[in-house]
């Protein structure tokens, strides 16, 4: 056996060892943002929303407040939900003590939820408006909508 063949065999063994020793990358999953919008003609001072993934296969990795700076950042949520590997729902809520004139109205993004969806199926989100109120604490009728965008 020539020296070149021995060298090639040694290199091949080294490459194989390097490939085999590389740790397997964990499955990245699909990261999406779920924007929660409240639509109301009346200025909104408090809101509470329940966001559900019908298959129970979402992992919440972050929660931000919406566009309006009069609300706290981030909204109230169950911190245990972020520690779970997967969850089927989360409840978000926030309020503002600002004057009615400063409060948002119309279609307002109140929260952004960063979600890592596990599994191959498309996530199936559903949101329910638990409560919405005015600055004087009066409940109001409002609509709710979701917008999802892939992060990567």
């Amino acid at each position: 056996m020539s020296r070149a063949r021995v060298l090639h065999a040694a290199l091949a063994l080294l490459c194989a060892a390097a490939v085999l020793s590389t740790p397997a990358q964990p499955e990245a999953g699909t990261f999406t943002t779920v924007d929660v919008f409240v639509v109301s003609d009346t200025p909104v001072a408090a809101w509470q929303v329940e966001l559900t993934e019908r298959r129970g296969a979402m992992q919440i990795v972050g929660i931000e407040r919406g566009d309006d700076s009069t609300f706290r950042d981030p909204p109230f949520y169950d911190r245990v939900a972020l520690e779970r590997s997967t969850t089927d729902r989360i409840v978000l809520a926030s309020f503002s003590l600002s004057d009615a004139a400063q409060l948002p109205r119309g279609k307002v993004r109140v929260a952004r939820v960063h979600v890592r969806a596990t599994g191959s199926a498309q996530p199936d989100y559903e949101a329910r408006l638990v409560a919405v109120g005015t600055a004087d604490g009066r409940p109001i009728d409002a609509q709710l909508s979701l917008e999802t965008q892939p992060e990567r």
């Binding site: 408090a46 969850t87 809520a93 003590l97 409940p139």
Partner: protein, 137 residues
């Protein structure tokens, strides 16, 4: 010495004979004696006047009152809703509007309101809790 071991009879004859007399067999009553006693008892109780059933005149009203009281206790939670301390706005449910009401009371009254920021935060986290144990009622 083993107390259970059989000892030779060393008692005086007088005591031994008295003990033997005490150790005789029980008397056996025959069925005729049983029947005689039974008949005597029947004739005795047949001759006694039957005691009238005594019932207090308060028994019926007291029983009815107890029944009404029991029904009221059982039905009360269904009819009368006991307000929760977290139901600040008295809407019958606890949600973010109660947190807002509490925060407004705190903003209006300051420390004099007796409401602390901690209480407001605790209520806010209770309304978003996923587990029923930590959730607001």
């Amino acid at each position: 010495m083993d107390p259970t071991a059989e000892q030779p009879e060393t008692l005086p004859p007088a005591i031994a004979s008295r003990l033997r007399r005490l150790d005789r067999a029980e008397a056996i009553f025959d069925p005729r004696s049983d029947r005689a006693v039974l008949e005597a008892a029947r004739s005795y109780f047949a001759a006694r006047p039957a005691a009238p059933a005594r019932r207090s005149r308060w028994a019926l009203p007291l029983g009815a009152a107890a029944a009404v009281l029991l029904a009221a206790v059982l039905v009360r939670p269904l009819v009368f809703h006991t307000p929760s301390a977290d139901d600040v706005d008295g809407s019958g449910r606890v949600d973010v509007l109660d947190v807002l009401a509490l925060a407004r009371m705190r903003a209006a009254g300051g420390d004099a309101s007796g409401i602390t920021d901690t209480r407001i935060e605790e209520l806010a986290y209770r309304i978003v809790a996923l587990d029923s144990a930590r959730r607001a009622p």
